[in-house]
């Protein structure tokens, strides 16, 4: 599979028989491998979190949505204040515009620190609140499910 993980598992053993290959089986095996790697934190990085920004809305009805959403949120909650690549689309003015933008960034960078620290505090508090709410909801749902099960088994018996 991907080269980045030296401790990677053996790739799924896919058999190509006379009847061909079973796409379902490949997807199932890959999903099992993903679940294992996910548990080991292989995908817990900022790159994956940012890559999911457009996908999260599509999977909101998925069972694992909240887990995945929070995982992504945890990775990108600190605001990045490092220097970044400054781009310019206008061809003829490009070098001049890039120079101008870089100069403006250097001048303003210092003043963004205050915003940055406040935003990071806000993000951290929000994340903690969402995680707490999620934990409480899960525990409450689990308690209610157990209670329903007990009531139903009592009535059925």
């Amino acid at each position: 599979m991907a080269k980045y993980d030296e401790n990677d598992d053996t790739p799924p053993a896919i058999e190509i028989g006379a009847d061909g290959i079973d796409a379902h089986k490949i997807v199932e095996q890959i999903r099992a491998a993903v679940a294992d790697k996910r548990a080991r934190g292989v995908y817990d990085d900022e790159i994956v979190a940012r890559a999911e920004r457009n996908n999260l809305l599509l999977i909101e009805d998925d069972e694992q949505f909240m887990e995945q959403y929070l995982r992504c949120l945890r990775q990108i909650v600190p605001v990045d204040i490092n220097d970044f690549e400054i781009m310019e689309k206008r061809g003829s003015l490009r070098p001049l515009m890039i120079l101008l933008k870089k100069t403006i960034w250097k001048l303003l960078k210092f003043y963004t620190y205050r915003l940055w620290s406040q935003q990071n505090q806000t993000n951290a508090v929000l994340l903690a609140a969402i995680e707490t709410m999620n934990r409480r909801h899960k525990s409450e749902i689990s308690r209610l499910e157990s209670r329903i099960e007990a009531l139903e088994s009592g009535r059925g018996g």
Binding site: P12, A23, I30, D45, V48, A51, E52, L58, I59, M87
Partner: protein, 389 residues
């Protein structure tokens, strides 16, 4: 039989529009079945402005009689406002639904042609579902109308004013089984006289796996997407995922794009993108044939022709699992894999790159499926049966 095929725009080279392509193809199939076919369309060419660009009139093309009618004037501001409300999950009142349809795409001249008897058509084939024009055609001659809905599981498909018109028509020509099931979910109690999964015939072709790389000099492995690039088609997900894939795995996998629409790739992905824009069918097929996978991250498709073409070009598909139709296509054909999030995408793309024999087998299975299910002969037989019933 005398048949009218009604499409919002005329399918022409350079016109991106799956429904128009499908309806044009069905019209040609009806001609080949020996029917007399009129293609009725509007004078619009652009699916954003719907301006009357072509002159109204009648002309012959490909054995069809093409009749062009002007698009009605409309309040685009009101339409956009209602469209935004619909898209953001608001339920439109019956009055607002009428306003939304009245200010969408309509052609009174076209509907009047049908109402006045036109050429006394035995069957009227019309689509796709979401235009006022389609609704008016259904209401004008319900007993003769066959709708090619191209339903997607989206907010517009839940507009009751459309359901009321569609529940009275002769029948439906669906593209896929999931689309047929969706129609029944949307309109409970639906029992039309005709219900056929017809889809679109694709002429078999062979494409060289090396021609594209030789011509363009692209030596790196690449994935491909063909069609409109926009949020609804999942293009932003594709760009984000490939960028993440390259950064995480260190593999220099490129992206070839054909079709139209602006893209905003992350800066680190820019050097790996080859945006070809509109290309000839042959170039597109060769580009598909050389790709490691055809990636289609859209969740709203009623049938993906480009996925079928990629299988004919012997390239496996990689699609979004939330796209019911795309996943169904891959499952039915065993011609591709489906991912629901980035980790699955990463593993599946790695799998296809690292296991060329398995990838080739998936693609070959896809090709066999297209040849048996979507050959022009098979599609024509299904269409003929639906028209006769």
């Amino acid at each position: 039989m005398r048949i009218a095929v009604v499409a919002p725009r005329l399918h022409e080279p350079g016109t991106v529009g799956g429904a128009e392509t499908l309806l044009y193809s069905l019209a040609l199939d009806a001609v080949r079945l020996g029917h007399e076919v009129d293609l009725l369309c509007t004078c619009a060419k652009n699916h954003h402005t719907w301006a009357n660009e072509a002159p109204p009139g009648v002309f012959a093309r490909d054995g069809l009689t093409v009749r062009r009618f002007p698009v009605d004037g409309r309040d685009t501001g009101l339409y956009a406002k209602l469209q935004v409300n619909l898209a953001s999950g608001c339920r439109l009142s019956p009055g607002e639904q009428e306003q939304w349809l009245a200010n969408g795409v309509n052609s009174t001249a076209l509907v009047d042609w049908i109402k006045s008897g036109g050429r006394d058509y035995d069957r009227i084939v019309v689509g796709p579902y979401l235009f006022g024009l389609t609704r008016e055609v259904c209401l004008a001659a319900p007993e003769r109308t066959l709708l090619v809905p191209c339903f997607h599981d989206e907010c517009y498909a839940r507009v009751e004013a459309l359901h009321a018109a569609f529940s009275k028509i002769r029948g439906f020509l669906f593209n896929t089984e999931p689309e047929r099931k969706l129609a029944h979910r949307l309109m409970s109690g639906l029992s039309p006289r005709v219900e056929e999964t017809v889809a679109m015939g694709i002429e078999p072709f062979e494409a060289s796996k090396t021609a594209f790389a030789s011509r363009t000099g692209i030596a790196a492995p690449y994935i491909i997407y063909s069609g409109r690039r926009e949020g609804a088609k999942g293009t932003p997900i594709l760009l984000d995922y490939l960028d993440a894939f390259r950064r995480r795995t260190g593999r220099d996998v490129h992206l070839v794009l054909t079709g139209s629409g602006e893209i905003e790739p992350p800066s680190s992905l820019v050097p790996a993108i080859h945006d070809l824009g509109f290309v000839s069918e042959e170039e597109k097929r060769e580009a598909m044939a050389g790709a490691a996978a055809f990636v289609h991250p859209s969740v709203n498709e009623s049938l993906s022709i480009v996925v079928l073409e990629s299988w004919l070009a012997l390239t496996p598909a990689l699609v979004h699992a939330k796209g019911a139709v795309l996943k169904w296509q891959c499952e039915s054909a065993c011609g591709g894999l489906w991912f629901k999030d980035y980790p699955e995408f990463e593993e599946e793309l790695s799998f296809l790159l690292d296991n060329p024999a398995a990838a080739a087998t998936l693609a070959a299975q896809g090709r066999r499926y297209v040849l048996s299910r979507y050959s022009p002969e098979a599609v024509r037989a299904r269409l003929g049966s639906a028209l006769e019933r």
